[in-house]
Symmetry: C2
DNA sequence: GCAGCATTTGTGAACGCAAACAATCGAGTA
DNA sequence: TACTCGATTGTTTGCGTTCACAAATGCTGC
């Protein structure tokens, strides 16, 4: 029990502080909100009273009257994957820097219903904006239906065209990775893609396809995984069975890891027989066998940029855009990825 | 704009619903809170009005009067590590099942000041309880100072003795792993421990030590990492330099991964020359080279159990425990880990 | 010494909801 | 018929804060 607190054990309220400081509750409020026109001496007396009582403002009461909760919502799907959890962390850090609270809603299923429910749940909490770490096209579409009810940004995918957001330039990253492999002398590059509905997966696949196209190389059919090492492992066996394969670009590091393992079990050496390149640069990438060449993305930066965008939208209300101006309205912050060369890639053995 | 909403564009409030349904706002409140003594016919009329107006209760107002926010706080530190992010997910799911919101505060630094600030920030939001995913002894100690101000549980470490919580039996897991290695015929087992201040790291080290002790084996000095693959990699080189080493138990999988890499670079074969065992069973463990023997923990279950404990404490107020009864008061839910055998461990080559 | 003005402080009313209490209704009973 | 009691509904109050406005105070210049 802090010294000087109200006798009845109840938490002190503004009126208690006011009484102790010998001012009105309104003056206390002014001090708390850094309002001008409070004599320094008065302010000091109020601050002393606040400390004395260990007073803390009641946020529900404040939210009730201001209609601002100082809270941002985060909707996250596979929040246990490496990328999403990194982004969540980045968002949380950035939110705190801007003195916002973070309320999270992570969904197991990605149905429209589930998405709308999450938005509504967050709205019920009076969040001032929502950041979505979700990359399925269908999810973003579902969210777009609710835009206008509350400011929203996506963090992760870049090309939704439906919501503003921050994302890595997946297309450019894939392009760079595949060009690099082609430059090494590989006739073509195979691709282990992510799930069809993920925007990142599509962008990376498109980048891969464009790199092959622009050099007039054969676009081989690509395998699709689910981001997991297991799915990469399975894809790896199929690739190992095809002796023409000399280079594989995987849509993320975990699948690349599975591919590495499958190739090794199949007696194909990396990089001598087959080069493997991933995407993400997970902390372990440098310590795989062999160390993985990959495309690094800065997830923390992504979270920060996304939040920045969200705060902008919160501050400058979304003044109903005309259908014409939509495109410019949905600004996207693109973060450039970086190709990191390690031992899993090299020149093809013979050609 | 939903049909029938109030003319002035403001969000509908209870009074609007009441007017439309031809009842008093209190009756609306009763319907909303599933209070008895509302005629089914009246209830139906109210529900129709709610739907018509797309009315949603204002949670700030409700919180103000009930002093319950339906929100739980989560304090998380290295929320980007595999374990913590899994636990966060588990907690979030369990919280939603109990229809609580989750507000998160992740900290970069673990100082006492920072911990207290996080607790205070969450308290300002009127969270009804706090789950802490934090494993540093110093952190738990700092938290324990604030216990009593709000219900709290830890998720992860088991043996704080200061806070109730759910955790994996790290000691038992380590014991099982080391006994298994000794049973294979290894003379002793080396250990790559986690950071000194982490309770899990200590428990695993203690388990390792006990297993050696009980068989009268030499307790070799142990190396300490920081959970990262890099730190494991560095430890791995030191182990590789010692030709007497035949078995290594690592405090987590990521360090084990680094060890594997270092051993391979040093020309030591796994498991022929050296057996390696990890802890966690990350999804990639089965696809490393070689697949990693490890101790599986069910992080999701941990989150659920921790939340269960927290809800219990919220419902049955903590009736000020006497210093005597403290120990029994701080109940701990222990989840049993499971040893998963894979290819990274085997009999020592010669003896 | 006092009007005039800016600065500082105080007073009353919301905000939207639930709790406590009061009122009404209807059926069963004497 | 009157009376009681339970079920149902309504009225009033207050949660702790900020906002709008009113009041008081201090300072300036004449």
């Amino acid at each position: 029990m802090p010294a000087g607190s109200t006798a009845d054990g109840a938490l002190p309220v503004m009126a208690d502080v006011a009484r102790l400081a010998g001012v009105s509750h309104q003056t206390v409020s002014r001090v708390l909100n850094d309002r001008p026109n409070v004599r320094p001496e008065t302010r000091e007396r109020v601050l002393v009273a606040i400390r004395e009582l260990d007073y803390r403002p009641n946020s529900a009461a404040r939210t009730l009257v201001t209609r601002k909760s100082q809270t941002l919502g985060v909707i996250s799907f596979e929040s246990t994957l490496y990328g999403p959890s990194q982004m969540l962390y980045g968002i949380e850090q950035a939110a705190r820097a801007a003195s916002y609270f973070i309320s999270i809603a992570s969904l197991r299923y990605q149905g429209i219903h589930s998405v709308h429910e999450a938005v509504d749940r967050l709205r019920d909490q009076a969040v001032e904006g929502i950041a979505v770490i979700a990359s399925q096209g269908s999810t973003v579409a579902a969210l777009a239906q609710r835009v206008g009810t509350v400011p929203m940004v996506t963090v992760g995918p870049t090309d939704s065209g439906q919501l503003p957001g921050a994302g890595v330039n997946n297309h450019a990253g894939a392009l760079a990775a595949v060009r690099y492999l082609l430059d090494l002398g590989h006739a073509t590059v195979h691709h282990v893609a992510g799930p069809k509905d993920w925007l990142e997966a599509n962008a990376r696949e498109a980048g891969w396809r464009q790199a092959l196209d622009e050099r007039g190389r054969q676009v081989v059919p690509c395998l699709a995984g689910d981001w997991s090492a297991r799915s990469g492992y399975e894809a790896g066996f199929r690739l190992a069975g095809d002796l023409t394969v000399t280079a594989v670009f995987c849509a993320n590091d975990h699948m690349a890891l599975g591919v590495l393992r499958a190739l090794q079990e199949s007696g194909r050496r990396v990089p001598e027989d087959i080069s493997v390149v991933g995407f993400d640069d997970i902390p372990e990438a440098a310590f795989l066998t062999p160390p993985l060449t990959t495309v690094r993305q800065d997830f923390g930066e992504l979270g920060r940029r996304g939040l920045e965008l969200l705060l902008q939208r919160i501050e400058s209300p979304p003044l109903r855009p005309s259908p014409r101006s939509r495109a410019t309205d949905h600004r996207v912050a693109l973060v450039a990825p970086e190709l990191v060369l390690r031992a899993s890639s090299g020149r093809p053995r013979s050609r």
